[in-house]
């Protein structure tokens, strides 16, 4: 009883203290603890640093500063729900939970609360159909695009035919890892390759039996949908069984520096997809001088310029651009979540705009519309150079096969609409 009252007191005082001034409130549902912290930390650092840089340099967007509310989820769906409920009352403009599990929780909630949800390159793929998922966006690319991009790359490597080849998918045994299976099954029928699925259970520290299976079956290529500690273990295990690294391709969540460095030289040649070009972007100088040197770095400031830091910063840039768009459409500086949604739906990212922002070519050029919340779906293939310690882009942006992913998206989103009684439409 006593503990209850104390907690209630603490809670109510905190709720009262949290009343907001006119800011652009951006919740950051981050995870800096647990088995996925290695991935969650740099993304969150990049996300926060970019907004802080905008605050320091331009005073926010349209004269209104950003206010970041960080909430630790630990990649756990229950904590994610608690974070959502705790932050939505502050006027949160956009949620980017960086977790497919939390995304599935939040899709119905944001739809009921009318707050936009941006799941960049993760989440529910069929949310690309904006006529049904009005508040959910997954531009510039999604998992089914990633699967298709990977297969297109392999087609290119093999002179246009994968007939008789075997492709194994090593995946995190969760909603995240299971997403590409449907697309890969459709692609395997189309291109005549054999497709095997190998599941790795959360958190993925134990993969001996999976890699023994790969050693026995000797697939031609291994694709991986991994995250967190699972990536490092998989790269190490692949090295242990002597699997040729150049035939091992991770998706864009399995291709950061910290995934390959633990295996040392053995990881040399490992490939992964990426939706960003990494490199020395001009915007990093602004972040360095205005945020890090001013002592405001999120985290310890050591991740600047890494693959996932760049991706977090890219996500923040897309959000900031959408804020500007929303302000332009509605003619007010202090926007609401509903206005933010309109801004996201009218978003257009061009090469010129990215260059103007000091991040030329960081992502593909794309535009969003009501019918298409998914963007262009382009991705590059990069390879790890262990001696130099950096990722080398092997290709330009590769397009996915929309004739495969399109019908799958239409089918899955229609099922969701039927289940939840949603009337598809753009009004």
């Amino acid at each position: 009883m006593k503990i209850k009252t104390l907690a209630a007191l603490a809670l109510s005082s905190a709720l009262v203290a949290g009343s907001a001034a006119a800011d652009l409130v951006i919740p950051d549902l981050s995870y800096r603890t647990g088995p996925y912290a290695a991935g969650g930390t740099p993304v969150s650092d990049g996300y926060q640093d970019y907004f802080n840089m905008l605050n320091a340099r331009d005073g926010g967007v349209g004269g209104v500063p950003f206010r970041i509310v960080e909430c630790e989820t630990g990649y756990n769906t229950e904590k994610g729900v608690e974070c959502y409920e705790a932050t939505k009352g502050e006027g949160a403009l956009i949620y980017q939970p960086l977790s497919t599990g939390i995304t599935y929780q939040l899709i119905p909630k944001v739809t009921a609360d009318n707050i936009p949800l941006h799941t960049m390159g993760y989440g529910r793929t069929s949310a690309a159909n904006g006529e049904i998922f009005r508040n959910v966006f997954n531009y510039p690319a999604n998992y089914w695009d990633a699967a298709s991009v990977a297969v297109n790359y392999l087609l290119d490597e093999n002179g246009g035919s994968l007939d008789g080849k075997t492709i194994a998918l090593v995946y995190h045994n969760s909603a995240y890892g299971k997403e590409p299976i449907r697309t890969l099954e459709a692609l395997s029928e189309m291109h005549g390759f054999d497709f095997t699925q190998i599941a790795v259970d959360h958190p993925g520290q134990e993969q001996k039996s999976q890699w023994l299976q790969i050693r026995r079956e000797r697939p031609d290529y291994v694709l991986m949908w991994g995250w967190g500690v699972m990536n490092q273990v998989a790269v190490q295990e692949a090295a242990n069984i002597g699997f040729p690294m150049e035939n091992f391709i991770g998706n864009w969540w399995s291709g950061a520096e910290h995934d390959v460095t633990p295996a040392g030289m053995a990881a040399d040649g490992y490939k992964s997809l990426n939706m960003n070009r990494v490199g020395d972007l001009a915007v990093f100088d602004d972040i360095k001088t205005l945020v890090h040197d001013a002592g405001n770095a999120a985290g310890d400031g050591s991740n600047l310029g890494s693959v996932l830091y760049t991706r977090g910063m890219y996500a923040a840039m897309l959000a900031a651009e959408a804020v500007a768009k929303a302000q332009e459409i509605h003619g007010v500086a202090e926007i609401t979540p509903a206005m933010m949604r309109d801004g996201m739906e009218a978003l257009e990212i061009t090469e010129e705009r990215m260059a103007e922002l000091g991040m030329a070519g960081v992502g593909p050029a794309f535009s969003v519309s009501c019918a298409d919340h998914g963007g262009s779906g382009l991705g590059i293939v990069q390879q790890w150079d262990a001696a130099a310690g950096n990722w080398v882009a092997l290709t330009d942006y590769i397009a996915p096969d929309d004739s495969v992913t399109g019908p799958l998206i239409a089918e899955d989103s229609a099922a969701f609409a039927a289940e939840n009684g949603i009337e598809p439409g753009c009004s």
């Binding site: 905190a14 729900v81 599935y104 909603a175 997403e179």
Partner: protein, 358 residues
């Protein structure tokens, strides 16, 4: 002065053997129920419901279930997460297969199905005890989670392996799905908690409870005086799993709305519920509530104090949480092995003599 039986005369056997024989205790019980049913629903908002009240109520049901098995019957179980998953998936299959049947019936049926599964996994308890039984229930935990991940029929062949709760109503008010109001979510859980707690309390006070406790205290002696261990242990497993199954079904349908079995009903859930009954008090219904409240509220309170009031980094607070909860578990095991329920009992004893203790 408080909690005194002096002057509280009983004139019938029924009055003498009622749940709360002391008048003051009875009034307190009715007052708590009145506040919970008549006051809280008018003030509850989304945050309070989702972050504190609903998880507290659901974990309380799970803790009552595990307390019957472990606290009253002495059979250690590490399969709570798996049995909650059975309840959740049973509820999902029933909800999608029979959309016209009331969700309340589905929730109860999920409990019944889980009871059957629990009794099946309870069979080894007839041969093995203690740590060995814990390992056998651990196998149930892993097997059930693997099963729900492996067989697509359980999640209706959805691409992601997730199950999503469609909207269902009680008296025309939605209680599952995204459009559920906070008070409806809270009330349906409260009704289930109240009914479950009353059933559990009365079961444990009667013949059945005494049978379980005799098995817990000394199974050979119990057998000699005529207690059938087969019946006692299997009923404990079945009744315990019934409650745990209802908790799992509510957890999925009302609280989360979408569930991924490996993450939500993993081994951590089994340990969490076990910690709840250890901290709350083994063999006590009140202890189940106290333990659930403690472990649901403490992390939220620590987060509010650390992040929102003191402005510490979120990762530091998350790590501190683990340290503090771990330390508190050790503190309780050493200082008060009977848990929060024992503090409550001692407090009541002291209050009887207050303000003139001798």
């Amino acid at each position: 002065m408080l909690y005194r039986e002096a002057g509280d005369f009983k004139t019938s056997y029924a009055a003498d053997s009622q749940t709360f024989p002391i008048a003051f205790d009875r009034y307190r019980y009715w007052a708590v129920l009145a506040v919970a049913f008549l006051v809280v629903p008018f003030f509850v908002n989304d945050y309070w419901a989702n972050a504190i009240l609903v998880p507290f109520l659901i974990y309380a049901i799970a803790a009552i279930g595990l307390n019957i098995l472990t606290g009253y019957c002495g059979q250690v179980s590490l399969g709570t997460g798996g049995f909650m998953a059975v309840g959740a998936f049973a509820c999902y299959k029933l909800m999608t297969a029979f959309p016209d049947v009331s969700i309340v019936i589905h929730l109860i049926l999920s409990g019944v199905i889980t009871a059957a599964v629990g009794a099946a996994f309870g069979l080894p308890s007839l041969r093995i005890k203690g740590f060995y039984l814990a390992v056998a229930t651990l196998a149930a935990q892993f097997f059930l989670v693997w099963l729900f991940n492996r067989v697509p029929w359980f999640y209706n062949y959805s691409a992601s392996g997730q199950i999503n709760a469609p909207e269902r109503t009680v008296f025309g008010v939605p209680v599952t799905g995204p459009n559920t109001e906070a008070w409806a979510q809270y009330l349906i859980c409260l009704v289930f908690v109240t009914v479950c707690a009353i059933i559990a309390r009365n079961l444990t006070r009667g013949t059945q409870g005494r049978t379980w406790m005799s098995i817990r205290d000394m199974d050979i002696a119990a057998e000699i005086i005529g207690v059938n261990p087969l019946k006692a242990k299997l009923t404990a497993f079945a009744v315990s799993s019934f409650f745990v199954g209802i908790a799992g079904a509510l957890f999925f349908a009302v609280y989360l709305g979408a569930v991924e079995v490996g993450e939500v009903f993993g081994i951590q859930k089994s340990f969490l519920v076990l910690f709840m009954i250890i901290i709350g008090g083994l063999g006590s219904i009140f202890g189940s509530f106290a333990g659930a409240a403690f472990l649901v509220i403490l992390p939220v309170a620590l987060k509010l104090v650390g992040v929102d009031l003191l402005g510490w980094p979120t990762d530091l607070v998350a790590h501190l949480q683990l340290v503090i909860i771990g330390a508190l578990i050790m503190f309780f095991l050493i200082k008060e092995p009977h848990g929060l329920a024992q503090w409550w009992r001692v407090a009541k004893e002291k209050l009887r003599l207050w303000p003139f203790p001798y």
